[in-house]
Symmetry: C2
Subunit: 221 residues, 2 copies
């Protein structure tokens, strides 16, 4: 896979050694995250809205109700900046100043367009579902005509993209290294609790395989 | 505490029953999160950058190096939209369409200004530190003159603010309730792993109380 080409917007200026344009890394970060923050401009002012997403190849899909202000703005051609951030840990230094976080983030710039082709739309819906929780799509009722019509799906090409990664130990000033203070990383991760059954579930139906497998994978990470 | 007053920008249009302007709830969400996504407009285009933050009363503080494009833009008076999102769980319905997430989010609009007063600046630095990991400030070396000078601290008033919360079970269509599919919520939470010691730590120094307490509080949640 070829790297993404940095552009004026994606060239990382602050701490450029943390930057990456590696396509496989970008895909990996996007596939591990599941909430993105979508930035757009309306009346000259910035808006940042959290939402779910899916990815197929080099396309990022967003979706929602047709009435969504964000989706309407993007479908009308507004520039988007979509950011996905994974927090991997707290970086605990000997000095307050050098505290930091370990993280992996991706920033995507571009214009999205509405997906009109019903097959691509259904594939995107499947991608949202499989992205949120793999295997679930085959366990549940697929979207019907009415639901597909009510849903606006946008495709944003992964073309102008950068990743940024910080990992590892704190970097303290030389003269602070002798301080008798514990320093290092406190790893953070998302984990799953016990599934909470909807009281309306019929009969004895146990948690589906997708739910059990997802929780297991998350908790083993 | 009085509620925030909705404005044209903060009145929640999509799923307004999820909206809240409750000040205590907004503070609670901001205090539980520790990464925000800052949106701003540069050359007419949107940028969304993840960063740490702190809160003191009704002021949200951002900080970073003076060279940061984001901080420079905001300090110069650019409008900001700062969003904090906490993901509480996956909402697993019987139909693909009704899948969702449980979350709590806060959106803040406004203009930030640079903090010049050295006492407020130091208080903000302490707030960043205590926000990231309570108790740490007293264990480590405080910022010195050079570090304070190198840091740009911005204050954003919490005035134009809204929260949005989804909680609870999936909401399926009546006719899907009879489907023999497990439905409910898979709770997600951030948890801490084993602290990773910086190999340069002197002597036998064990993890500080702040690190142990933080991990414990997170894992007990």
């Amino acid at each position: 896979m070829e790297n993404f080409t940095p552009t004026d917007r994606t060239v990382v200026r602050r701490l450029p050694k943390r930057a990456s344009y590696d396509r496989a890394l970008v895909h990996q970060i996007l596939d591990e995250g599941f909430v993105c923050h979508v930035g757009f401009v309306a009346d000259g002012k910035p808006f940042v809205i959290p939402t779910a997403y899916g990815r197929l190849g080099d396309t990022l899909y967003l979706h929602g109700a047709k009435a969504s202000r964000m989706l309407k703005a993007l479908a009308a051609g507004a520039e988007a900046c979509v950011t996905v951030t994974l927090v991997d840990g707290l970086v605990l230094a000997r000095s307050a100043f050098h505290h930091s976080m370990n993280y992996r983030s991706v920033v995507v710039f571009g214009r999205a367009s509405a997906v009109e082709d019903p097959r691509e739309k259904l594939a995107a819906m499947r991608a949202f579902s499989e992205h949120l929780i793999p295997g679930r799509w085959d366990e549940v009722r697929e979207p019907n005509e009415r639901e597909l019509t009510a849903t606006l799906v946008l495709a944003l090409p992964l073309a102008e993209v950068s990743a940024k990664v910080r990992a590892g130990a704190p970097v303290d000033d030389e003269e602070d290294l002798a301080l008798p203070v514990w320093a290092g990383e406190l790893p953070l991760r998302l984990s799953a609790g016990e599934p909470v059954r909807d009281p309306l579930v019929v009969g004895e139906t146990p948690p589906s395989e997708s739910v059990v497998a997802y929780a297991r994978a998350l908790n083993k990470r």
